[in-house]
Symmetry: C2
Amino acid sequence: MKRKELVDLIFARKSFLCVGLDVDKNKMPEHLRKEEDGVFLFNKAIIDATIDYAVAYKPNLAFYEAMGIEGLIQLRKTMDYLHSLEKPAFTIADAKRGDIGNTSQQYAKAFLDPNGEFGFDSMTIAPYMGADSVQPFTVYDGKWVILLALTSNKGAFDFQFLPVEGEKKLFEKVLETSKQWGNEENMMYVVGATKADMLTDVRAIVPDSFLLVPGVGAQGGSLDDVCKYGLTKDCGLLVNSSRGIIYASTGTDFAECAGAEARKLQEQMSQALKHYCH
Amino acid sequence: MKRKELVDLIFARKSFLCVGLDVDKNKMPEHLRKEEDGVFLFNKAIIDATIDYAVAYKPNLAFYEAMGIEGLIQLRKTMDYLHSLEKPAFTIADAKRGDIGNTSQQYAKAFLDPNGEFGFDSMTIAPYMGADSVQPFTVYDGKWVILLALTSNKGAFDFQFLPVEGEKKLFEKVLETSKQWGNEENMMYVVGATKADMLTDVRAIVPDSFLLVPGVGAQGGSLDDVCKYGLTKDCGLLVNSSRGIIYASTGTDFAECAGAEARKLQEQMSQALKHYCH
């Protein structure tokens, strides 16, 4: 999905919500745990209930890999379902990959290739190995790298805030350097919402880039702050919520409750788009 | 596999060779490309031909994921085969994962759990997200984290050599900080062989830890230099060769040629163990 399509989708649906499909079988409603395609059926119900309020879906690869090969079959079915829908959605492989050039090419093929198993629009990438570990993901037309810049976990403080080259912090250096590898049409950044005021520093370096903001909801970030510091004139944000939506209820009403939670966020987002974006 | 078992294996086999199973269908011998289980059969033949000269096998996940779900089935068969052998070998999932705590737990389950799909002894992990992204991999008894410290690619110079906190380089800070997360019994480090003299700086921080050294062979590192700067009294090294062994020939003699290449490296390693390790 190209940038213009994504922006149009956001303003049409009045939402920049991304639903994180971090499916753990043990947290799914009991009646689905025994089903052969339970994980897919769970995702399908969540997607059906939220697609009017969300513009993106982000399966976290770890949760599918932890279920073994069967988990990846459930993921493929989920992606096939998303691709079959008339209502479009931006898809993110939350995979946090990154390796030397020829290996990153293989990861890009695995997740982004339109003829591959999944055909995601984008995937998350770790920056530690530098240019040749990231660039192979930018060669597919209309596909995106989402580079880790500032994450929302406690461990983010171990390295990402280290001062490098004087006053600059490592995550700022990552943002700056990465501008040589891609542009606003093929590169987004992960920026954790638990540090919403840091978005000002991020926007000083990448004023127009899309930011994927995890950590609203269970991880504790404030949506108001994220909007205030992060929104650009054409939005420039995808804000993720995982557990707060998909586990809003663990009963048979899980999809209905997920839809209601997504709708609440969408209503806030609709207001914010009206207020900040022109 | 616990550290003592690994060290004993190294001195019994007089080798610290790791064979990188980075299998690309297009580079496999023609007669195997059409076979249903061609990738597994390729790996099996490579393993059979090299196991007397190698102590470790390192499938690179990207290459299997690029083949889709079928690739992971081939990987599972390969792992089942390795586990079935009477001759032991240390296994490494070259996966370069790392995510927030609850997600890293899922990755650990996917690759290290003895009841999981693959049951690797170890896996490679990216450090950018800090403590809680790494620690979930250290909780399985006899299993290992192999943390990226200094990689052998060109992009390594983008961030890993940045000066942080004065004179220190980022990779040195990663090594130092990581000592709070694990020890010589459950944590190794990736250190690229293209910068063999840097091993002196690495050994100053982690004198006794095992180092996984990629980049000997196709990536251009010198085994002599790696031995000189990296070996400890109980070895402390796993040196990887991928393409130099598995694609030594693309004909029907591929396994024989792989065995011959592995044997050459093993002979050098046997001399080095005699010379440096007591």
